[in-house]
Every structure is written in C-alpha cells, then in structure tokens.
Symmetry: C5
Subunit: 105 residues, 5 copies
C-alpha cells in the first residue's frame, strides 16, 4: 500500500455509471508530486495522510468486487512525518509544490 | 486512477477480435509525457482531462470482465489545472513537449 | 495499454509448458529504451509500432485466462510518429540506442 | 517479489473493517527510499530485510482472497547485503536517509 | 514479461507456508540494477538471462492459481546481449554494479 496525502475532492460529472456518486479524491505521494485519484472508503479530509491500496484489492476495498477502482483509501494514518526535506506537510503548500514537482513527475 | 489528458484517436486496423470497434485514445499524464492508449468509456474528445483506471478494474469499466483493457477512461474532469510549470494545457503544444519529454520518459 | 515497437523475435528453448510454441517478441517503449517481452496475438513484424496490453487482460488477450502472459500485443498501429527528438524510428537504429539508453533504464 | 526493509509499525486507527487488526508495517526498498506499507504475514521486526509480494498474490499471502492488501511480507531474508554505496543497513540509520531520499522519491 | 538476469539463490528460512520449499532467486533487469526476487519454474542458474512474468500470470506460471508469486521465471533466453554500455554480462561483475547502481535505484 502507498502512503499518500489527500489534496482535494475531484469533480467529474460525466463518469461511468459503476462509479456511482462515490467521492473521488486527488492524492499525492509527496507534496508537489504526481497526482492520482483515489476512492475514499474511510471518510478523510484534505491534508490527511492516508493508506491507499491498489491492484485488484482496491476493488474489494471500495465495497465490491465489481467496483472500478485501482486505488482506494483504506486507512487514515494517525501521525505521519513526511520525509521531504523542508515540508511541514500538514496543509496544502503551493510554494513547495514547485520545488518538488520535477522529481518524479 | 490516473489523471490524464486525451491527445487523439489511435488508428489500429489490425487488432484482436476482442477489442471490437471500440475507439482507442492516446492519453498522456502530462503534456509532452509518455503516451499510453486507453479505452474510452465515457465519450471524450482531444484536450479533455480524464480519469483513467488501470489494473483488472479497467476491464469491467470497459464493459465486461473479458474485455482486454488495462487502461479505461471512466470520467471526464470538470475542471483541471495541470501542475506543469509553463503549460496552458488546453491544446496540443509541440514546443512544450520537447521540454518535458526527458523527465519521466 | 502501452505503445511499443517490435524489435525482434526472442528464442527461448527452455520454457514452461504453458507458453507452448507461441512466438515471444522483444518490444521497446522507445528506440534504445528498456526491452520487454510480449506475446504476439496479431501477427506483427520487427519495426511495427504496436499496442501492448498488460495486467490480467494480457492473459485473455493471448487466447485464454490461463495463459501466462503479462504483456500481449493486441493491435498494430497504422501510423505512428514516435516523439523521440531525433529518431526516424522506422528501422532499428543501433546508433540511436546508445544516446537514449540512459533515460529510463 | 521485492526486497524491502522493515522500518516501523504504522498506526492507523481509522481503517476499513476488512483490514481487521492486522499490523501494518512501513517498508522501504532502500534506506532513505520511498516508504510503502505492507501487511506482515511472517512476524518480522524493524530492521529485517524481507520479501514482499504484490499484485493479487498479496491477498492470498495475507490469508484470504478477500483481504485488501497489495503488498504482503512473505519471508524474512536470512542474510542480506544491500547494495547502497555507503550503507551498513542493519539498523535504522536516520542520517543516511537524507542522503538517499532524492534518488527515487 | 521482463528480461532479467539470475544473480543468486536467496535464503529465507522464515517464510509463509504457501511458498513451500520452492527456490527463490535474486534477479536484476540489468547488472547493477535493482534486485527483485523470482520463483523459478524452469530450472536456471546464476548468470542466465531469463524471461520473468509478473501480475496474476506469475501465479499460474508458478504452478497454481493460489501460489503467492508476483514474479516467476518462465523461460531461459538462448542468447542475450544486454544493452548496458560496457557490460560483458555473462558473469557476476561486482565492479560494474557500482557504476550502474544509481540509474534506476
């Protein structure tokens, strides 16, 4: 499972029926890193550091073997200290995003 | 799920029967990034920023457990601001592609 | 699905029985890039740019749910212009391979 | 399977029911590298170098086809010499983490 | 499937029951590259260049749908010329490992 940080909710009005009305969250492995989209199965908010499961496990974790997810949030980490050099990491910090964005992107 | 941008339709006359006549779209994680091919399940057009699901979920999302897809477009993002430094990102921009192509490729 | 280029056939006499006598092809995401091995389900030749499916879909695409493939060629692209800076890309070009080999390898 | 090193236990009070009370461990491919979370199926301790299985195999390895894991520790390596240049690697070494953290992160 | 080179056998006394006594081999995509662990289904020896299958196919290839493998060796390549610049690549070469180890690691 990956350790990721919730950035915000993603609005997608035009979506396939199987997704239902489940909220889609934008998550990042590190502040300023590449953004992915995850299904929330625990009820988290922007700024939370969470555990995301991928592969076929993401589907069951989202509630059903048929749910079309490849990334599902399965837990909120009680306390996480990200290892980015100079990142407080508890709030969205736009200025830090630029510094880190070239590393994996 | 990944956030990707639709670049264009891909023509492949010689294909396996299971793909049927489903349109194949060229998508990119960022303008100038590596290109992948996705099955369109929502009806999108070049320039759209979309949500792509991979893994085994891509198959169900494409319409059936037996469909041979590992990347299916499951939603169109209402509004997306890509984080590339100097990328307007609403149209294919050949000059930017060169600048970014070395990062993950 | 990935866009890859067929380089050549791979000879593997000592193989598991489930692979049968299916041809194994060496493919690359870009000329000079990392080489992978794919099962050919469409009948392609060296130099072709093809669509490769991975994940569990690669198995069905290869002909059966039990076939041990994680990368199967499912279509030949009618016309493909690779985005490598200075690559004609229609024939194997040994001299270009060196220049690009360090990028993702 | 990947060769990873156990760093510590991860506390996640708010988690999906299917995870039960199974311990979650933070693992790294190399000291100072990106952190992942794995389910422990063998009983290991911080500092152990372990074998982690991913994909759908992680689920069965964790004890059941329905367990939502995409990374499960399936064995402890008797003796492992990591290939990082200047890393003794038998104990958590905070000072080394900084030096290596930019490589893949 | 990936083209990898067998480095050595890996000893893991403390392992999950489902792995049985199957030999575990350390493999690398290139000399000096990141090491992975694969299940041997063909009978290979250190120095062999082999074809490794991942994803769910690794399980069937290892002998059963329930075997917990995500990387299984399915064939030995009759003749392989690795593309590393200055690598003879037929024997373990410790001195070359250092030069290449930073590229993907």
């Amino acid at each position: 499972m990956k350790i990721m940080r919730v950035e915000k909710t993603l609005v997608s009005t035009n979506r396939i029926e199987q997704l239902g009305h489940r909220p889609l969250l934008v998550v990042q492995e590190k502040i300023g890193g590449t953004r992915s989209v995850a299904i929330d199965a625990v009820g988290c908010i922007p700024g939370d550091w969470v555990i995301c499961v991928g592969s076929s496990a993401a589907r069951d974790a989202a509630g059903s073997k048929d749910f079309p997810s490849d990334l599902t949030i399965v837990g909120i980490i009680d306390h996480w200290e990200p290892d980015a050099p100079a990142a407080p990491a508890t709030k969205p910090a736009a200025s830090e995003a630029g510094a880190a964005s070239g590393e994996k992107a």
